[in-house]
């Protein structure tokens, strides 16, 4: 039985569950969770149909088809998390509901952790929806198990990175528009190295940039597992960049959570 002095600490420990429950309800029953998932499902349907029927896309072996669909699924599924996270605090701030949230007895870190859980649920739903497509495209070449497991691992890593990153930006952004635009712009900047000329990509600086970008590194790792049939540990070095990124942005989000205030910016 908890003593009276222990109660606030225990409430603080469990407050994130209460916040997560409310956020999940808002997202999936009253919010945009299902419409986003519908758009995601449509995208996967179009991609899978084209991969299976279009002569221009269906020119390579079945592993390539699985890899293409899986990479689209993982990348867009993780981006859904960013949309959820980037809106979480700045959206409350813009709608004028942040004040009442800050007045609740829940610690501020618990508020952000609860919101992070809700945003991560978008990735969980996206991954579940992607499984039938991967199963259909990958059956017969023995890559279904690898594809499902690796997409869960890599996608979760990317989702964790994006939830931390989105929450950090959303915590300091004064408006939703700023939060979303900054989040997407930085992601676009990270994506730029993949568009470098091939010769540049083979140079040491090109290779470094590709490995530093969590998205590029994660998706390349997926491709090596599925297309080249490599073992999970053979190219694990590609996951160093995403893992470091997850640690950095999570730490940043937690530090900024303690300084969460009504008007945005960083409180010193």
């Amino acid at each position: 039985m908890a003593s009276v002095d222990d109660r606030p600490i225990q409430e603080g420990r469990h407050a994130w569950r209460v916040v997560a429950g409310r956020e999940l309800g808002d997202l999936w029953l009253g919010g945009r969770g299902l419409p986003l998932l519908l758009a995601y499902t449509l995208l996967l349907s179009v991609t899978s149909y084209l991969v299976a029927t279009n002569q221009g896309l269906n020119f390579l072996e079945q592993r390539e088809a699985v890899s293409l669909t899986l990479q689209v699924g993982v990348a867009v599924g993780a981006l859904l998390v960013l949309l959820g996270a980037a809106d979480s605090v700045s959206g409350e701030r813009e709608r004028g509901t942040l004040e009442s949230l800050l007045l609740s007895p829940a610690p501020r870190r618990a508020l952000l952790i609860g919101k992070a859980v809700a945003a991560l649920s978008l990735w969980a739903a996206a991954w579940i929806v992607s499984v039938p497509y991967v199963w259909y495209l990958g059956r017969g070449v023995g890559v279904v198990g690898v594809a499902v497991a690796s997409s869960l691992a890599v996608g979760s890593l990317l989702a964790l990175f994006l939830v931390g990153y989105g929450l950090a930006i959303s915590t300091i952004a004064s408006s939703n528009r700023v939060s979303l635009s900054v989040s997407l712009f930085v992601l676009l900047a990270l994506y730029a190295p993949t568009q470098m000329p091939t010769a540049m990509q083979y140079s040491w600086i090109g290779e470094l940039l590709l490995r530093v970008d969590p998205f590029t590194a994660g998706l390349r790792y997926l491709g090596k597992l599925i297309i080249n049939g490599h073992g999970p540990g053979q190219d694990a070095v590609w996951l160093v960049g995403p893992t470091v990124a997850v640690v950095v942005v999570t730490a940043a989000a937690l530090i900024l959570a303690d300084r969460l205030n009504l008007h945005g910016g960083v409180q010193t």
Partner: protein, 185 residues
């Protein structure tokens, strides 16, 4: 003096017979390049495969000269024999150029090429070798005759129910959530 004037007039006179003013005066053909001191052979000479399959080739570069050959560059090329098929060699191999270390006199060097069949049909792969400096000669290998069978591995017919059913199911869930939201108000 008169002879000189007559000679100048003869030189300045146009040549007899038709002249095509649009064409430049024919120039003597360039001297044929010296016999290439290197040769290149490609192995195997025939390959049958399917679209998407990877295979490897080996080319052997031989220096026939008594002098070492330096600055040699080998390049892999792919050409399609069917006019309807567009072939982009870059899709076939990520490394199509190899810069060779100096090749000693009378020595040979084997080069390995990794290739992935991207187009179906009849194709030819060959390797050329030239030097970075000092010669105009480009030595080509024998042709590797390639027959690539088309491959359509994903069963296109069965995917339609899946790509329709999944969004429909999510749409149904969205409608159900909206109905439940309204009924709770």
């Amino acid at each position: 003096m008169r002879l000189v004037i007559v000679a100048l007039l003869l030189l300045a006179a146009p040549p007899s017979g038709p002249v095509d003013a649009s064409l430049p005066h024919p120039t003597p053909p360039p001297p044929s390049p010296a016999p290439a001191p290197v040769s290149v052979r490609l192995h195997p000479t025939t390959v049958s495969t399917r679209v998407g399959q990877r295979f490897s080739l080996t080319s052997t570069v031989q220096n026939h000269s008594d002098q070492p050959a330096s600055g040699l560059v080998a390049h892999l090329n792919v050409l399609g024999l069917d006019p309807e098929v567009y072939v982009d060699p870059e899709d076939w191999s990520s490394q199509r150029t190899i810069y060779l270390d100096p090749l000693p006199a009378r020595a040979t060097r084997r080069l390995a090429w990794a290739v992935q069949a991207v187009n179906s049909g009849r194709l030819v792969i060959y390797v050329t070798v030239t030097a970075r400096q000092g010669t105009d000669a480009v030595t080509a290998s024998n042709a590797l005759r390639l027959a690539v069978a088309p491959q359509r591995t994903v069963a296109a017919g069965g995917i339609l129910p899946l790509v329709v059913a999944m969004p429909t199911a999510v749409l149904f869930l969205t409608g159900f959530a909206a109905y439940r939201r309204r009924s709770l108000r």
